[in-house]
Amino acid sequence: MLIEIKSLTKKYNSFVAADHINLSIKSGEIFGLLGPNGAGKTTTLMMLSTLLKPTTGTAIVNGFDIIKEPSQVRKSIGMVFQEPSSDELLTGYENLKLHTMMFGVPANLREQRIKEGLELVGLTAEKNQLVKKYSGGMRRRLELARGLSHHPKIIFLDEPTLGLDPNAREQIWAYIKKLVKKENVTIIITTHYMDEADRLCDRIAIIDRGKIVAIDSPENLKRKIGGDIIQLKFKGERNLNSLKKLKFVKKIDKFENGAALTVSDASKHLQEILKVIGTVESVEMRTPTLNDVFLHYTGKEYHQNGESPEGGFFEKAMTYRARSK
């Protein structure tokens, strides 16, 4: 195991940001930490990269203990932060050079590594521009190249496509995939985008409120739900209890003005379900998505908020209220 996380916990007063997290990550996989904002993904990553001290528990990264051998751990990893962390008054090239020098890349290899990195992320032509002239996507790509330039065994990507437009996101995904193919690296990625996790990751850990609620490949997670999803919209109260008697209905999640049912062989049984529930406004039938997986394990609708990493004030106020209920 390349990374072994043992009961890793971070507490801020009474708030538990990461709650006894246990994980093993194999060499060569793209592993995703998926969860809504404030679930504890970044906190976990910060502890693994030794920037934050765990309250209890520890982790072994590339054979080194994050508490006892932080410097060795930092040598083994490359980190791409959620927030841009390159120097705006330096050029792309200078940022990379600074990085290779700080990370102890031998002088005779530096130019080669910088060149490779720039080529990989397609910034060779812009290497002598100041970073403040870069777009958000270019900057993220530069930081991706930077995180690789000392050839770490493990790369941590914290929300790599946060705040990027769809085009730039596709590009970043392509670069990440190219990277895994070319270098033999292990990637840990945090994201609150379901589609990102689905498309990139070999395995996913779903985190909610500091706890891991499920770990598996995206396919298996979806399969484990045990059927398709039938989403019903209707007005007023319906007697959902009668649905529970049907043995092909695995699970019922009730919302305001509707419900989501997990049903085996859904297409075959749709008729019967509608007979029991009566007239509805609309019916949607689909194979499960990670969204449904999240709902399945946490009992909550997944709300993603791409606007800001912390969530806006309103969202914070709402989660605060939800928590105190």
Binding site: S49, T50, L51, S71, Q72, R74, K75, I77, M79, F81, E83, P84, S85, S86, D87, E88, L89, L90, E94, K97, L98, H99, M101, M102, F103, G104, A107, R146
Partner: protein, 248 residues
């Protein structure tokens, strides 16, 4: 070896950024020039100190003032690095915090030395003729600036906002400057005032620079240098320690 190249990297970055912020260089030269020519010219026309023209007398003091302000202000860049998250990139590198501290400090020393040099170039206007004294002069400036830059870095590493930094440093800068003998001779001060100036490390910097440039000294160059070395060593140790505790 990799610690050394890391130190150079951090220093080089600070230096490049310094050169790219032309307005910063210009603005920080303006204030000493105003002190020299406007304050010095104005006050100088009203009084005369024993053997020197007043402007000449404060000239070494203003060089030290420029070093003081530039060095302490340099700590603000630590806060900007925190804000830009660039500090995380540095902290996540395998470099030790001590190396990071020294890289940063060296960057600040370079900035301040360059600005001091511009003022040293004005020497002939005040009747200072260049000679071998420039070597000990730069040694003295280097030691003093190292201590002052470290004070700036310590404050920067402890604070979160540039506004707070500005407030704290102005509380430090002005007493250090006014109580240093940069603007007046120490000989005839009332004893309470003299007592305070004697506790100010900048006083010894002013005295050393004045002794090297004008040949007049209150404490003697040897004592000045000893005090400055002790000051720099103590502050550097504290600085390296605060960096090791700094949170990002």
């Amino acid at each position: 070896m990799s610690e050394l190249s890391g130190l150079l990297a951090i220093w080089e970055r600070e230096f490049r950024v310094f050169l790219r912020e032309k307005s910063r260089i210009f603005a920080s030269l303006l204030s000493p020039l105003m002190w020299l020519f406007i304050f010095g010219g104005g006050v100088g026309s009203a009084l005369s100190t024993s053997s020197f023209n007043y402007q000449t007398f404060i000239y070494p003091g203003i060089i030290v003032m420029s070093c003081l302000f530039t060095s302490i202000f340099y700590g603000a860049y630590v806060i900007w690095d925190k804000r830009l998250d660039f500090l995380k990139e540095v902290i996540v590198s395998p470099l030790s915090r001590t190396t990071i501290f020294f890289g940063k400090a060296l960057g600040g020393v370079t900035d301040a030395i360059i600005q001091a040099s511009v003022l040293v170039l004005l020497g002939p206007i005040f009747g200072v003729h260049y000679g071998w004294f420039l070597i000990p002069l730069y040694a003295v400036l280097f030691i003093m600036i190292t201590g002052l830059v470290s004070i700036g870095l310590i404050i920067g590493s402890l604070m979160e906002s540039p506004e707070g930094f500005g407030l704290i440093t102005s509380l430090i800068n002005f007493p250090l400057f006014f109580l240093s003998g940069a603007l007046f001779p120490l000989d005839n001060l009332p004893s309470w005032l003299k007592g305070i100036t004697l506790m100010n490390p900048v006083t010894y910097g002013v005295d050393a620079v004045r002794s090297l440039m004008l040949g007049t000294s209150t404490f003697g160059l040897f004592k000045d240098v000893l005090v400055l070395i002790a000051f720099a060593v103590i502050i550097v140790v504290i600085g390296a320690w605060t960096f090791s505790k700094m949170k990002v």
